[in-house]
C-alpha cells in the first residue's frame, strides 16, 4: 500500500526546493545599479546596442529585443495581457449593463450553462432564493440546496457587484476547489479546524460539470453565474464563468465582492501605506505617491475610487474600507493583511462633485 504525502508535507518540500534552487543564482544587488543611473550593465542609452547584440546571439530573447525597440507600445501590450481571463472586462460588462440588481430584467434563457450538484444537500434543488437571501431579479434564475451547515445558492446571471456591501468570503471554502478534468470541478467545504489542528476535507459539497452540449454563447450580461455557499464560519460568494476545455477546468471564478465593504468615521485616516516586506534578503522598495488628478472625478466618492481602480492595473479591485474624516474628506483603504497597502484620497471639488486628491501605495 502506497502512502501519498500530506498537503502539508508537499508544501514544505516545495518551499524547501524553491529556496534551495534559488541559491543556484548568485546576484549581488548591492553592487548593481539601476537602469538610467549610469549602470554599466543596464544603461537605457545602451538599448539599441543591446538589441543588436541580442539579435546576433543564440541566447537572445525576442520579446526583450522587441520591447526595447518598441518601448511603451510593448509595455501597453504587456499590461493588457495581465488579465488573460478577462476578469476585469467581464466585471465591467456586468456592472455596465446592469446598474441595479432589481431594475433590469434579464433574458438569459432557462438552461443553465453548467450542471451543478450538491451531494451534501439534505434537500434540493429548490426553485427560488435561499432562506434569507435577496429576492430574484426579473428574469434571474435562482435555485438553492439546503445543507446541514447552510444553504448553497446559484443565480444566473449573477447580480452585479455592489459598490458597497458586506464582505462575503469564507476561508473554509476557497482553499478547497479542485478541477480533476476540464469538464469536472469539485468544491469541498472544509470544516474550520480547531487551533493547532489540520483542516479536514469531508468530501465534495458542490460539483460542477460542463454541460455536454453547450448552449449558444450567452449575451455578455449572462456569462457569469453567482454561487453562494453558506458555511459554519461565514458566507462565500463568487462568480462562475464557463471556460473553454483547454483551460483545464469547466468554470473559472470572477470577483463579485463589493468595491467598498465597510464605512468608518475616523479622526485621522492613514496617509502612508505599509511598506513592502520584500523577501528577507534585501531592502524594501519605496512607497509610491500620486498627487491630485482633477480629471478623476464623479458625483459620489466611490465613483472616484472606481475610476482610480480602472486606471491602475494590478491594484485591489474590491474590499476597500471607506474612512471619513471630520472635514468630510474620504480615504479608501485596502488591507493586504499586513497593513494598508493602497490608500486613495478623495475630496470635494469646485464643481460640487468629488475628485482624486492623491494616493499612496506600498509598491509591492
Amino acid at each position: 500500500m502506497s502512502h501519498r504525502p500530506s498537503r502539508h508535507v508537499v508544501e514544505d518540500r516545495v518551499r524547501a526546493t524553491l529556496r534551495e534552487r534559488s541559491n543556484d543564482v548568485q546576484v549581488d544587488g548591492r553592487a548593481a545599479q539601476a537602469p538610467g543611473t549610469a549602470s554599466p550593465r543596464l544603461d537605457p542609452m545602451d538599448a539599441p546596442e543591446r538589441v543588436e547584440r541580442r539579435r546576433g546571439s543564440r541566447r537572445s530573447v525576442a520579446i526583450a529585443a522587441v520591447g526595447i525597440a518598441a518601448g511603451s507600445a510593448i509595455v501597453v501590450a504587456t499590461a493588457t495581457t495581465l488579465a488573460p481571463d478577462g476578469d476585469t472586462a467581464d466585471r465591467a460588462a456586468v456592472t455596465a449593463t446592469s446598474p441595479s440588481t432589481t431594475a433590469v430584467p434579464f433574458d438569459c434563457g432557462t438552461a443553465l450553462p453548467i450542471a451543478l450538484r450538491v451531494p451534501s444537500a439534505t434537500r434540493g434543488p429548490i426553485d427560488g432564493p435561499a432562506p434569507g437571501a435577496p429576492p430574484a431579479s426579473e428574469g434571474q434564475l435562482v435555485t438553492h440546496w439546503l445543507r446541514a451547515d447552510g444553504p448553497v445558492e446559484l443565480r444566473w446571471p449573477a447580480s452585479p457587484p455592489l459598490p458597497f456591501g458586506p464582505k462575503t468570503s469564507s476561508a473554509s471554502v476557497v482553499d478547497a476547489m479542485t478541477a480533476s478534468s476540464p469538464d469536472h470541478m469539485e468544491i469541498d467545504v472544509m470544516r474550520t479546524p480547531a487551533p493547532g489542528e489540520m483542516a479536514t476535507w469531508t468530501g465534495a459539497d458542490v460539483v460542477v460539470d460542463r454541460v455536454p452540449a453547450p448552449v449558444a454563447t450567452p449575451p455578455l450580461q449572462c456569462d457569469v453565474m453567482q454561487l453562494t455557499i453558506v458555511t459554519t464560519d461565514g458566507q462565500w460568494l463568487a462568480g462562475l464563468r464557463v471556460t473553454p476545455p483547454e483551460q483545464g477546468m469547466p468554470v473559472e471564478t470572477v470577483d463579485l465582492q463589493p468595491t467598498v465593504v465597510e464605512r468608518r468615521a475616523v479622526d485621522t485616516a492613514p496617509d502612508v501605506a505599509v511598506r513592502c516586506e520584500g523577501d528577507g534578503r534585501s531592502a524594501r522598495p519605496p512607497n509610491r505617491s500620486r498627487g491630485p488628478e482633477p480629471s478623476v472625478r464623479g458625483d459620489e466618492p466611490v465613483d472616484v475610487l472606481t475610476q482610480y481602480i480602472a486606471r491602475t492595473p494590478g491594484t485591489a479591485r474590491s474590499g476597500y474600507i471607506e474612512m471619513t474624516e471630520p472635514d468630510g474628506s474620504i480615504t479608501y483603504a485596502s488591507d493586504s493583511g499586513r497593513g494598508w497597502s493602497v490608500l486613495v484620497f478623495v475630496g470635494r471639488d469646485a464643481a460640487g462633485g468629488w475628485s482624486l486628491q492623491g494616493s499612496n501605495t506600498s509598491g509591492c
Partner: protein, 153 residues
Amino acid sequence: MTAPSREELLDDVYRSRVAAMTRLAYLMTGSAAVAEELANEAFLRLHERWDVVDEPAAYVRTVLVNLCLRWRRRAATRPDESRRADELVASPPDIDETWRLIQELPDPLRIVLVLRYYEDLPATDIAAIVGCSPTTVRTRIHRALNRLRKDMR
C-alpha cells in the same frame, strides 16, 4: 532635505529587488542566464515607464512573470532554447525530485506555485500579477499541490 530624484528612487528599487527578481525568473525558467536577462529587461521597462507606474516592485514582478511565460512558450517550440536549462549540482534526492516535478507542471500552475511558496505572496497579489481572480489562484495552487502529491514518492 530634498526629495529623492527619479534616478535615486529607481536605483533604490533596482538594488532592493534585482536579486529577488533574478531568482524568481530562474525558478520559472530553469536557466540562470535567461533569468538575468529577463530580470534586467523587466527593470529596463520599469525605467521606460517610471512616470506612469504607481507600484514599481509590483510592476517589475508582473512584467517579469509575463516575460518568463513568453520565454517558456518560445522555448517550447525551439529546442535550442529549451536546452538552456542549467545543469544542476546534485541536491538531496527529495529536492531533486521535487524540482523535477515542479518543472514538469504546466506553466499556469508552476507560476502560481513559485509566487506562493517562494515569494510568499497571498492569493490576492498573485491574482493581480497573473490576471485572474484570487479563487482561480487558489484553485491552481490546489491543483499543483495535488499533482505533486500524486507523483511524489
